[in-house]
């Protein structure tokens, strides 16, 4: 993928991908285009070159909303819940495009995040940062996506909550969902990743399994702080 918001390209021949049941993590220094790369896969960035393929289908020209219908779920980094609405209403809105019965999906989300069941009648804006992230992920899960895109799901939450969120993300991947996420906490994220992409200035610098990247001395030195 090559593209950007204005005349200058932010992404330069950047390639990322993820298979079902896998977790792929994009890491890299600030301004490397991590979030931009993910947004590009979701159709929020005009591409000059390259394609976005989904299930063998070219979806490069679909709008983000249309990609949701195809089976992509996206959790933005900020403003990712409806703060004035209750937890349950947030989940209902997540399933807005579905016409069938959504109660099973709501139960699944509550099983995954039991705390949300307790707080189902509370406005999402009154929850803690970690709980909000759970609502945000839960909302995206409601469309039963095949690919889930997470933009820094652990931004601004404590290390304990971060570990728990990662555990939940692994659980989601085990149900067969492909997960692509951007992370600041590169070390922890690569530990759970099947695939890792290190981006620098909008291009792939290293691509390998999470384990291999963690073991790679170059990656360690430049991006993981030794």
């Amino acid at each position: 993928m090559t593209g950007g918001y204005g005349a200058a390209d932010i992404l330069k021949e950047c390639t990322i991908g993820v298979d079902r049941g896998e977790i792929a993590v994009i890491v890299g220094p600030n301004g490397a285009g991590k979030s931009t790369a993910m947004k590009a896969t979701f159709g929020m960035l005009p591409l000059r070159e390259g394609h976005v393929m989904f299930n063998g289908e070219d979806i490069t020209h679909l709008k983000p909303e249309e990609r949701v219908v195809k089976g992509m779920g996206f959790v933005p980094q900020t403003h990712n819940v409806f703060t004035s609405m209750t937890v349950e209403e947030n989940l209902e809105m997540g399933a807005f495009i579905r016409e069938d019965d959504i109660s099973d999906s709501i139960e699944q989300v509550y099983e995954l995040f039991p705390i949300l069941k307790e707080k189902r009648r509370q406005p999402a804006g009154e929850l803690s940062g970690g709980q909000r992230q759970q609502v945000a992920v839960g909302r995206a899960m409601m469309t039963q996506p095949k690919v889930l895109l997470l933009d820094e799901p652990t931004a601004g939450v404590s290390p304990i909550v971060m570990d728990e969120l990662f555990d939940r993300i692994i659980e989601i991947a085990r149900t067969g969902v492909a997960i692509l996420m951007v992370e600041q906490n590169a070390k922890q994220a690569l530990e759970i990743a099947d695939k890792g992409y290190v981006l620098v200035q909008g291009s792939n610098r290293f691509t390998d399994t999470g384990e291999a990247l963690l073991a790679n001395p170059d990656v360690r030195r430049s991006f993981l702080g030794g």
Partner: protein, 337 residues
């Protein structure tokens, strides 16, 4: 003791009942303003004139029904013509949205542009109304005038002071309660209503969730057209229909919406009653009440009135200024539906 009860009856008759009525009218008006603000993110100055337009169509409907000899006495015939008025106001709202607002929405114009556009439409709709029905007074009330009059009340209770309840007052208050209840049910319980709240809360996330913005905007205008017509008709029934009065109504309506927290439906209703009670309580002459409550034989020389009724409009202005200085977000700090 009877003096005390008499004083209470005076207050009920001249402050409580009129303020509840006026407050209901303002609340319905402010609800419309707040909906536009919550979903479309601008202050709709054309709302007062939209009320006039919807009321005008209702009046035509009323005349038509009266000519046909249809009557729902003791209730005013205008209630039967209300759906026609709502239809007219909704149609005009949707046409104006398609021809005017949509263009600016697609260009992602700033709220100030929308506000100025709405001022333009205010003059346009106002002119249209006066062109069609004329600038004069129209009284379209029929049916029974009083549910119980002051004289009935005095005879029944043996008190010196009377409490009257006009049909229009009862109709206004009951209609307002029904409309507000329906509105809250819609916003909080239906899928479409929730999608409106979601859109108002976080537009981008609503788009990601597959909520169709065009549909939300359309439903908003439908609700706003209906609310404007109902508020305007109730006001016109209670007072009289004078095209120019709706422009003056705009200030108390905006004051109500802002006092309650603009964008918040609950706030709009609370704000409506706050403004109405303040306006009437401040401009009421308390001479009689003081006479009843004071020592025997005491009678004040003046009217014991804080402010002349001519300055009524200043009250909403004052409250508006105080709220904006002390608590700019309003009572219910609103922003979203």
């Amino acid at each position: 003791m009877t003096d005390f009860i008499n004083a209470l009856i005076v207050l009920a008759n001249f402050i409580l009942v009129p303020a509840l009525t006026y407050g209901s009218q303002l609340a319905l008006g402010a609800l419309g303003v707040t909906l536009v603000y919550g979903v479309l993110r601008f202050s709709n100055f054309a709302h007062g004139e939209m009320m006039a337009f919807g009321t005008m169509i209702t009046i035509f409907g009323t005349w038509g029904l009266q000519a046909l000899g249809v009557s729902i006495a003791p209730l005013p015939t205008a209630l039967l013509a209300l759906p026609l008025g709502i239809g007219g106001a909704v149609a005009l709202s949707l046409i104006l949205d398609k021809t005017v607002y949509k263009y600016h929405r697609q260009r992602k114009a700033s709220p100030v542009i929308f506000l100025i556009v709405s001022i333009g439409l205010m003059f346009f709709i106002g002119g249209l109304v006066r062109f069609i029905i004329g600038p004069g007074d129209q009284i379209f009330f029929d049916g029974t005038r009083f549910i119980f009059s002051a004289r009935d009340f005095k005879r029944a209770t043996g008190l010196d002071e009377g409490l009257a309840l006009k049909m229009t007052q009862a109709v206004t208050i009951i209609t307002a309660i029904l409309v507000v209840a329906a509105m809250f049910w819609f916003l909080n319980k239906t899928r479409t209503g929730k999608s409106m709240r979601a859109f108002s809360d976080n537009e981008n996330l609503a788009l990601l969730s597959g909520i169709n913005p065009d549909r939300v905007v359309m439903i908003t205008w439908i609700l706003v057209g209906a609310l404007a017509t109902i508020a305007g008709t109730l006001y016109g029934l209670d007072k009289s229909f004078k095209p120019f009065s709706f422009m003056q109504l705009l200030l108390p309506i905006f004051a109500a919406a802002i006092v309650g927290g603009v964008g918040n439906p609950l706030g709009a209703i609370a704000g409506g009653y706050v403004i109405a009670f303040s306006e009437i309580a401040v401009t009421f002459a308390y001479k009689k009440v003081v006479t009843y409550l004071g020592p025997d034989g005491f009678q004040p020389d003046s009217l014991v009135q804080l402010l002349g009724t001519d300055y009524k409009i200043a009250v909403s202005f004052l409250i508006l200024v105080i709220v904006l200085i002390v608590r700019p977000t309003g009572i219910f700090s609103g922003k979203t539906l």
